[in-house]
Symmetry: C2
Subunit: 293 residues, 2 copies
Amino acid sequence: MDLKAYRRDKRALVDQGLKSVFPEPEGFAADVIRAMTYSLFAGGKRLRPILCIAGAEAVGAEAATVLPFACSLELIHTYSLIHDDLPVMDNDDLRRGKPTNHKVFGEAVALLAGDGLLTEAFRLMAATSGVDPHALLRVIRLAGSAAGYQGMVGGQVVDIQSEGKPVDKPLVDYIHAHKTGALIHASVTSGAILGQGSEERVKAISSYGEKIGLAFQIADDILDVEGDSKTMGKGVGGDARKKKITFPAAVGLQKAKETQRRLVEESLGALKAFDEKADPLRSIAVYIIERKK
Amino acid sequence: MDLKAYRRDKRALVDQGLKSVFPEPEGFAADVIRAMTYSLFAGGKRLRPILCIAGAEAVGAEAATVLPFACSLELIHTYSLIHDDLPVMDNDDLRRGKPTNHKVFGEAVALLAGDGLLTEAFRLMAATSGVDPHALLRVIRLAGSAAGYQGMVGGQVVDIQSEGKPVDKPLVDYIHAHKTGALIHASVTSGAILGQGSEERVKAISSYGEKIGLAFQIADDILDVEGDSKTMGKGVGGDARKKKITFPAAVGLQKAKETQRRLVEESLGALKAFDEKADPLRSIAVYIIERKK
């Protein structure tokens, strides 16, 4: 299958969905709308919405069915980047080749733009029409767990607090599973649930999601060591500079590469019972560790 | 009716509900759990959850039916206070007589504790069982609008940006309606919706909520001028010092007091068709402008 074309098509669909969420920046709150959309349309890969759509398609549903929910996952991802870049957190000036949100809008508006995106994400989820309301409430709970203190927020706290501490494998595993893995896992799993997949299929896709979530973060860590800052649109080597606890730092670069390859193989294994409608998921798994940014 | 006893009983119910949301602070994410619960149990009035419960009771439902949803509103309120107190925002050291979250846990953890509370709020909403799922999705959308950039976050952005600017009545009205009014309105209205009130009853309670939301913020502004800092557990006169756009600054103290009284009368008028089950709402309206903190 042609993953590049698939990603281009779904990305266009997601961008269209995202554009319809926010009004033109007018009135008193114009600045926060500007700040939210600045980061939302700064060139993200839309990996989480695409995974949600591909998860729905793998169980036989249409992309359009899950589109609002899929878009809401990008809002959550974008808010996390804005808050992560703030001076009290990672203090980054550049993201995807552009000045970070607080560099453009100031720290107070950036903080509130993040809050606004996170809140709007859940409003948008609950506005997904034409799906089973029980399934919708289930995936809202799933996304809430994955994004909150039991998931992404928990991972970020530990990530920040671990800077400069001795590298420790259980700590790396915790950070990876929570900071990045949880939301990626929830994205693809929620697609399968909203797409009315059987519990068996949902379980298989959930297992796939867990594996690629970890592989994605390991790949990110490796890119920070080996990547090209021009391709990536941000500085590399930041993890080492900030003394971050990373997978390559914990087990070495070679072992890190082996682990991500094993995880991708396992993720493909989880999809064994699926037909060609799961091909996008299969391609995405391989793409995750081969990407250059 | 004995509002003091009613508030005490419902507060105990809400506190019990809130206590069951978070686990003991253990494991890697212990610090963020500590930070979230520190602010959550710092002595809040629980006004929003109590309004939600009273809204449900006014249309004949039981408090227990809406309890998880009601608790989630307190999570949203608490997150907004933590972020509002941060140095990049209002830079406050004291809240309810205690050091603010970032003074105890540092700015990074405070930021993430706020994010964690906001996210958990929506997870908890979606976990409200035993209610109509369509009604539940409707109130999640309502809370999302009220808390997000079209509501509270929008009001906070404008509040921060207006500091030091000439006092302007439309600006005050915008800040009041959005920063505080929107979530108070959503709290009582969501109770009536989840309690399966008729559309006519929901509309009446929505009108009540709009009036008391505005009255509440005017009362807050007046307390900042006339209140006793010991009773309030925080400094007074902060609005004037920070050159905040307030209602008394816009129209004068006398006119501000007249306006809040008029709003409370109008809120009582909106409840004319209700029987004694709406008495808690009636008492709360009066309490809102008579409170000393």
